[in-house]
């Protein structure tokens, strides 16, 4: 005791974690919509996923703009005279706008029944959707002073979480369609497994780092954060669905639905902790 600690505020609040969650789902849905052109079993998801993706983009955009302390200046980020290309936020803004335009064109092609253009636009939209979790990951990765964030695995982890969340929502949308569920089970199983392995890797490297890393590991694995990260995010939201889907009973409709819900709840918890925990320690410096 006796130390005079000056408390600083965290830079990014929980609304940013909600944005990460929304952007992950919409990217995943975009992958599903493109997947429907490659895998006929996913055909019933094509329109639903495309509409869902665009709707979530509107929600995500509002969340992102609302999170700015100067919301009316959001156009500054699209001003070529202002853009700073060394910032991942600048790339992200361009990516979001391009994704939005392509999504609208894709839906228009779907409405017209233009198969050739639809398939091409689905591919372009899915590639731009891939950029969304990648840029949100880089948003965190470039901060060299933050343990956990400053790791090359974060963009990859965000892509895996986007596939898991997107296929989970896809599974809920395709309820009752056995053919689609068979494919979505595979997506959920392998993406949840990949997320589990990456989380073990993140926790391991964090625990064996310097003092800041060790302290961040303590924050992430104890108390409320620990319950959310280890309990909800890792065990319930990644390991449990992977085990359930891998087991012989994993093909039943009930297990698929439970797994999808667990992946979504776990994905939300993981994004919250990955965003907030590395900031908590920094507030004490």
């Amino acid at each position: 005791m006796g130390d005079y600690v000056w408390f600083h505020d965290v830079s990014w609040h929980a609304s940013y974690a909600v944005y990460f969650f929304v952007i992950g789902i919409l990217a995943g849905l975009s992958f599903m919509s493109y997947g429907s052109w490659i895998t006929p079993a996913l055909r019933p998801l094509r329109e639903k996923a495309a509409y869902g993706s665009l709707g979530l983009l509107a929600l995500g955009g509002l969340l992102l703009i609302g999170d700015l302390s100067q919301p009316m200046r959001f156009l500054n980020i699209l001003n070529p005279g202002y853009l700073n290309f060394s910032s991942p936020l600048a790339w992200g803004a361009l990516n979001i706008v391009a994704f939005g335009i392509c999504s609208v064109l894709y839906i228009m092609a779907l409405k017209k029944g233009d198969e050739a253009r639809g398939k091409l636009l689905a591919l372009v939209t899915a590639l731009l959707a891939l950029g969304l979790p990648v840029y949100t990951g880089f948003d965190l990765t470039v901060h060299q002073s933050r343990p956990v964030w400053n790791s090359p695995i974060i963009p990859v982890l965000f892509v895996a979480m986007a596939i898991a969340s997107g296929s989970a929502v896809g599974s809920l949308l395709a309820m009752g369609n056995d053919e689609a569920q068979k494919v979505l089970r595979q997506y959920m199983l392998w993406s949840a497994g990949a997320v589990s392995i990456m989380l073990v890797s993140v926790m391991g490297t964090t625990n064996y780092g310097g003092s800041a890393q060790e302290l961040t590991f303590m924050i992430m694995t104890t108390g409320t954060m620990g319950l959310l990260f280890v309990g909800v995010g890792f065990l319930a939201g990644s390991v449990a669905p992977a085990v359930l889907l891998f087991a012989p009973m994993g093909k039943s409709q009930g297990v698929l639905m439970v797994s999808a819900l667990l992946i979504l709840v776990g994905g939300a918890a993981l994004r919250y902790v990955l965003l907030m925990a590395p900031q908590q320690l920094q507030t004490l410096y």
């Binding site: 005791m1 006796g2 130390d3 005079y4 600690v5 000056w6 408390f7 600083h8 505020d9 830079s11 990014w12 999170d67 700015l68 302390s69 100067q70 200046r73 959001f74 500054n76 980020i77 001003n79 202002y82 853009l83 700073n84 060394s86 910032s87 936020l89 600048a90 803004a93 948003d139 470039v142 901060h143 060299q144 002073s145 933050r146 310097g210 003092s211 800041a212 302290l215 303590m218 924050i219 104890t222 108390g223 409320t224 954060m225 900031q279 908590q280 320690l281 920094q282 507030t283 004490l284 410096y285």
Partner: protein, 236 residues
């Protein structure tokens, strides 16, 4: 340090004809009067709850031989500043002659990316309501008193420091007092492992003062209670 250590094109270490302003804080001379903090507040009308410079302390030693160890803090005006790299709209920029890291308030969108990038917590968000100053809802920070230095004055905190703990000058000028102090004394910078090449040098600051405090080892829930008590009166 030689110019060979420059790794980024924006660094001005040893560049001929370019000034590189720096501050040396001699912690042995700091008495913790907080006059620097007050002078800064007065200079800029910095709102309650946030500071451009602040003076945290630690009590070290064992009773009865205890003392307070002060560590004045401010923006380090890094030679390779992560906040400049991270600002998506170039609201944060580096003045090439002098090395000041400044903020364009009219351009800042308030994404707080620079706050997240700063390893020193030197940046803060201005509140939405202020009594005398119309600059609100944007990120703010220490400017090394750019407006004073360009008038050949020293920053307000340096001007007011009663113990002459803070010394300011051009590090690229071998005859300046800061060059002398940095050359003749063992100096420390905060978090050198981040590679930001700070322009605030400390004399007499040990790792005990510059590392994360022991409060960091406490449960987040306990910290949260104290944080909310600390922030109770400041609606930022």
């Amino acid at each position: 340090m030689s110019e060979e250590l420059r790794v980024s094109p924006i660094e001005t270490r040893g560049v001929a004809g370019k000034r590189r302003f720096a501050m040396v804080v001699d912690t042995r001379r700091c008495i913790g009067c907080m006059a620097c903090q007050v002078a800064c507040k007065a200079e800029y009308d910095t709102p309650l709850g946030v500071n451009r410079t602040w003076v945290p302390y630690k009590v070290v030693g064992k009773y009865p031989n205890v003392k307070k160890q002060f560590l004045p803090r401010l923006c380090n005006h890094c030679d390779d500043a992560p906040c400049v790299r991270n600002c998506p709209v170039e609201a944060t920029f580096k003045v090439e002659d002098g090395g000041f890291i400044l903020q364009r308030y009219e351009r800042c969108i308030g994404c707080r990316s620079c706050m997240a990038a700063c390893p020193y917590n030197a940046r803060f968000m201005l509140p939405s309501h202020r009594t005398y100053t119309p600059i609100t809802n944007v990120v703010d920070k220490c400017t090394f008193c750019f407006h004073r230095v360009t008038q050949n004055l020293v920053p307000a905190c340096v001007q007011t420091c009663i113990g002459r703990s803070r010394v300011f000058g051009d590090l690229n000028d071998p005859n300046s007092e800061v060059s002398y102090l940095v050359a003749k004394n063992a100096t420390q910078v905060l978090r050198p492992e981040e590679g930001t090449k700070p322009h605030v040098f400390y004399i007499g600051a040990d790792r005990n003062a510059t590392e994360f405090g022991r409060d960091a080892y406490r449960q987040p829930e306990v910290m949260e209670l104290e944080r909310s008590a600390f922030k109770r009166n400041f609606k930022i």
